[in-house]
């Protein structure tokens, strides 16, 4: 057993607990600890990607209890990619937050760490109930992080967000109860076998449980009928928190991939078919609504929230196509869109700080300092987001379109992806030209531009460019990831085939 697998959960847990105990420590020390933890997580993420790259599953049985009885952590390619993405995003976010956002309220750093613990745990766990527990951990932390800084808008958005997620948790437990009552296990691999072997009389109940889970993950991922909490919540959150939340909808997508491709995906007529029947039209509708939303948004933060919705739609559509090339292209898009939506949340904050009035609202015409620098950054980010060459947005969209062409449903996706791309392009150019083209002459009030904040945003845009330049190795890796996802038998074999070997190698 490789103890490094447990560290992505343990490091933020210990850092968070330590920060909570030492809440009287000077802020500088708290920041140092937070940044240290995020740096370690990034290094661990690199290790995880390398470790999972061999194609093996790295298992970690907590307390040496053999699966399917004990709690299991599983590191495969998908988990590794998500871990690295989360860790690197969190590093940028915490650096940005250390420039002053963390002073606006109390306990920012411990909450940030607990948030990371929940996200990492959700990516690593091989057990349904622990998925629930880690979802709750990340949600509790996100409730408090959303409210960080206080204010009326945050209270109002927070109330909706908390209540809808509490209902989601109740539904999650109902689904878990049904699954346990029918199969007597909650280990994902064991559950997959039990579900595929279930008698026909149990099928309707299993479908019910699967659809309940789809609702739960749909709330997290913001799929069409369940996404109306998102624009308000994301646009109310402070900039680094909103940027970190860019990964939260992807946790929902991850859960959909993991649960419906693995747990419900086995057998002749898998239960998951009933789910994909719903996912496909809902993904397309989400995509269309996201496009319309970006055009109708009144501020850059709201627009970015709808960009998140667009990315969820595209991702979910590629997942629902159930094809290796499309899924791999979707995963590439996941990396790109998470990075870019985070950039836009931070850019909205940078611009808002430089404007005299209106913060990031489009309707207010106001003088803007440092127009050239901010305008260039915005331009680069917008080009990448809209999917124009030569950035990662172009490559990911091209790959998605290419992969979906031979499929029967592909043309529908083409129409929507390209149509939404046009809407996003119009919305972004309207925003950019209104702000940077010819605003009123700069005022006498000097607003210093924080070079560190600008540096962080530039670095994130550079990541997007690097993703385009070094696309080939990433694409090869993601293609193998998609292959691994679409062969759940390997996962089940790795977990259940030889529990003794797992434990024998691991005596600490």
């Amino acid at each position: 057993m490789n103890h490094l697998v447990a560290l992505p959960i343990l490091i933020p847990l210990l850092a968070g607990a330590g920060l909570l105990l030492g809440y009287r420590l000077p802020l500088r020390l708290q920041r140092g600890l937070g940044i240290l933890s995020c740096t370690l997580l990034t290094l661990l993420g690199l290790w995880a990607v390398q470790q999972a790259g061999s194609g093996d599953y790295t298992l970690y049985a907590l307390g040496n209890w053999a699966p399917p009885f004990g709690i299991l952590l599983v590191l495969d390619r998908l988990s590794a990619v998500m871990l690295l993405l989360t860790a690197s995003l969190s590093l940028f976010c915490i650096l940005y937050a250390c420039r002053g956002t963390d002073r606006e309220g109390s306990h920012f750093h411990p909450l940030f760490q607990f948030q990371l613990m929940g996200i990492n745990g959700a990516f690593l766990t091989g057990d349904m109930f622990n998925l629930f527990v880690f979802f709750e951990v990340l949600l509790i932390a996100s409730y408090a992080l959303l409210l960080h800084g206080g204010g009326r808008a945050r209270s109002r958005a927070g109330l909706h967000y908390v209540i809808i997620n509490l209902v989601g948790s109740a539904l999650f437990l109902l689904a878990l109860g049904t699954l346990y009552g029918l199969t007597g296990t909650l280990n994902m691999a064991d559950l997959a076998g039990a579900i595929s072997a279930a008698p026909d009389t149990d099928k309707p109940l299993l479908v019910t449980a699967a659809l309940l889970l789809l609702v739960v993950f749909g709330i997290k991922a913001a799929i069409l009928p369940l996404l109306f909490w998102l624009p308000r919540a994301y646009s109310a959150a402070s900039a680094p928190v909103a940027a970190l939340f860019a990964i939260m909808t992807k946790v929902g997508i991850y859960a959909i991939i993991r649960i419906f491709m693995l747990v419900f995906g086995l057998g002749e007529a898998p239960i998951a078919d009933a789910v994909w029947l719903w996912v496909w039209p809902m993904a397309l509708a989400t995509l269309a609504l996201g496009g319309i939303g970006t055009l109708g948004a009144a501020s850059l933060r709201t627009m970015t929230a709808y960009l998140v919705v667009v990315s969820v739609g595209i991702l979910l559509a590629t997942v629902a196509l159930h094809d290796q090339a499309s899924l791999a292209a979707g995963l590439f898009y996941l990396l790109h869109s998470t990075c870019l939506t985070a950039v836009f949340f931070l850019l909205a904050d940078l611009v808002g700080r430089q404007r005299d009035r209106g913060y990031d609202r489009f309707s207010v015409i106001s003088a803007l300092n440092h127009r050239w620098l901010l305008g260039s950054l915005f331009f680069l980010a917008a080009v990448s987001m809209a999917g124009l060459p030569p950035f990662s947005g172009f490559i990911s969209k091209l790959w998605i379109l290419q992969a979906s062409l031979p499929l029967t449903n592909g043309l529908l996706l083409w129409a929507l992806v390209l149509g939404t791309g046009l809407l996003v392009l119009i919305a972004l150019s309207r925003c950019g030209s209104g702000w940077f083209w010819r605003p009123p002459a700069s005022t006498t009030t000097q607003r210093p531009l924080d070079p560190v904040r600008v540096g962080i945003v530039t670095a994130m845009i550079a990541v997007s460019i690097a993703l385009a330049l070094y696309a080939e190795p990433v694409m090869v890796y993601l293609d193998l990831t998609a292959q691994q996802i679409l062969s759940p038998e390997q996962y089940i074999h790795a977990v259940l085939a030889n529990p003794d070997a797992l434990l024998a190698g691991g005596a600490p």
Binding site: E136, Y143, L147, L166, A170, L173, L174, G177, Y180
Partner: protein, 112 residues
Amino acid sequence: MELLFAITLGVLTSTGVYLLLRARTFSVVLGLTLLSHAVNLFLFGMGRLKTDSPAVIGKALEHADPLPQALVLTAIVIGFAMTAFVVVLALKAAVELRNDHVDGEDPNEDRP
């Protein structure tokens, strides 16, 4: 016993959902509490309903499934913390927004 259990769950869930759909935060919190109560009982029932069987092996001829009990315990703890949090949040929102409507503004009230 099964019928009584099922009716209890049904009543709890339906009242919970009804209260959840009200517009005031207090009834929403009550609705959430009832709903999570129903869910916890449901989870408990998934280990099958048995009397006189402890969840410890070897203490009686028949033993109950201990896993749902452990799950319920976890779910209760999480649900309890969440309820406490949502109560505090509702109070905070009521003070800041000057009303207890879940949308933060009351459509039937005249704006000042």
